[in-house]
């Protein structure tokens, strides 16, 4: 079951958009971080069930943060939310352990579907 969601993005507008797209009926606890480094620290602190991660960020980019999170927790569910949809970027994100990838700007439908997919995966793990 997904309860805690962490959004890692350097853009306050992007965080606002993400929060507005996350369904309100499930009472998710939402957390955010302004770059990969802060995201990594918050991940350790709050242990979210699901993380939405941007790729292009200052200090520590999304690839680096994803790699560090997967080292900490191989079962982490990290969904990349990015405008960088180059084939090589997508492949690299998957190689580093991303659960899935969403194109920016997201929609309510794409976010709801991604959360459901993540929840199903968690349920299967038991």
């Amino acid at each position: 079951m997904i309860k805690r969601i962490l959004i890692v993005d350097d853009s306050p507008i992007s965080i606002k958009i993400m929060k507005s797209c996350i369904p309100k009926d499930k009472d998710y606890e939402l957390f955010d971080a302004a770059d990969g480094q802060i995201g990594l620290e918050k991940y350790k602190d709050i242990k979210p069930d699901l993380t939405f991660m941007d790729l292009t960020m200052p200090v520590m980019n999304g690839f680096q943060a994803l790699e560090e999170i997967m080292k900490l927790d191989q079962r982490a569910i990290v969904i990349i939310v990015t405008a960088d949809v180059q084939v090589k970027a997508v492949a690299k994100a998957h190689d580093l352990g991303a659960f899935s990838l969403l194109k920016k700007p997201p929609t309510k439908e794409s976010i709801a579907a991604a959360i459901k997919e993540a929840a199903d995966a968690l349920a299967k793990r038991g």
């Binding site: 507008i13 797209c21 790729l55």
Partner: protein
């Protein structure tokens, strides 16, 4: 981000943030388009938005690219409600590295002077990056734009790359800047998109409409 006291009320911090995110999305898509066309991986950086007086635009861009001795530039104008100029700027020597990215580059070398090949390569890359990026910005803001053909200048001093007469010097301009690298060829460059004051009223409304979709 907006430092000049006189320009402060022209664009708010929130509008700057929206524009920065839109530029991020648009350049990401442009990079993907280019990577589909030629086999490269474009490393993106966080875009930057700045409001300045048009008279300060040429020295601002010269300062940004000061590490480049000579530059090659692709310039394209665009018109719609979103109106302005785009400059794709590469350091000296990029053209020759870039030619090899294109299929059939070897055949090209046999038949054409290197200068013409470089020009054609820059035109092609500029067309894709500028066209896709500016086009996506316009699309996200509900506009449709047309473009001038790209103009290419090769191996010129970075001073005077942007003309003083581009905009009315008493007016303001918004500059969107992003730095990028082509991973495989150690190529880096800047994209500047400059929009003039006549687009401001429309732009502010369009930025708020973009965000309202999510409220």
């Amino acid at each position: 981000m907006v430092r000049n006291k006189n320009t402060k009320e022209m664009i708010t911090a929130e509008e700057t943030d929206i524009l920065q995110e839109i530029m991020n999305i648009a350049f990401g898509r442009a990079a993907s388009d280019l990577a589909e066309y030629i086999d490269i991986f474009v490393i993106l950086s966080v875009p930057y938005v700045k409001l300045l007086h048009a008279a300060d635009l040429p020295p601002y861009i010269s300062k940004e690219i000061k590490d480049y001795d000579k530059v090659s530039v692709v310039e394209q104008n665009f018109w719609g409600k979103f109106k302005g100029n785009a400059f794709l700027i590469f350091p000296s020597g990029t053209g020759k590295k870039m030619i090899s990215l294109f299929d059939g580059g070897d055949e090209f070398i046999e038949s054409d002077p290197i200068y013409e090949m470089e020009k054609e390569t820059f035109r092609e890359v500029g067309n894709i990056l500028i066209g896709a990026c500016v086009g996506k910005i316009a699309e996200l803001l509900g506009d449709v734009i047309t473009y001038s053909p790209p103009r290419v200048v090769i191996e010129k001093s970075h001073r005077g790359i942007v003309s003083n007469s581009l905009f009315d010097p008493d007016n303001l301009a918004i500059v969107l800047r992003t730095l990028f690298e082509f991973n495989e060829k150690n190529i880096s460059g800047f994209l500047f998109i400059v929009t003039s004051q006549e687009s401001f009223a429309w732009l502010k409304t369009a930025l708020h409409k973009f965000l309202e979709q999510y409220e």
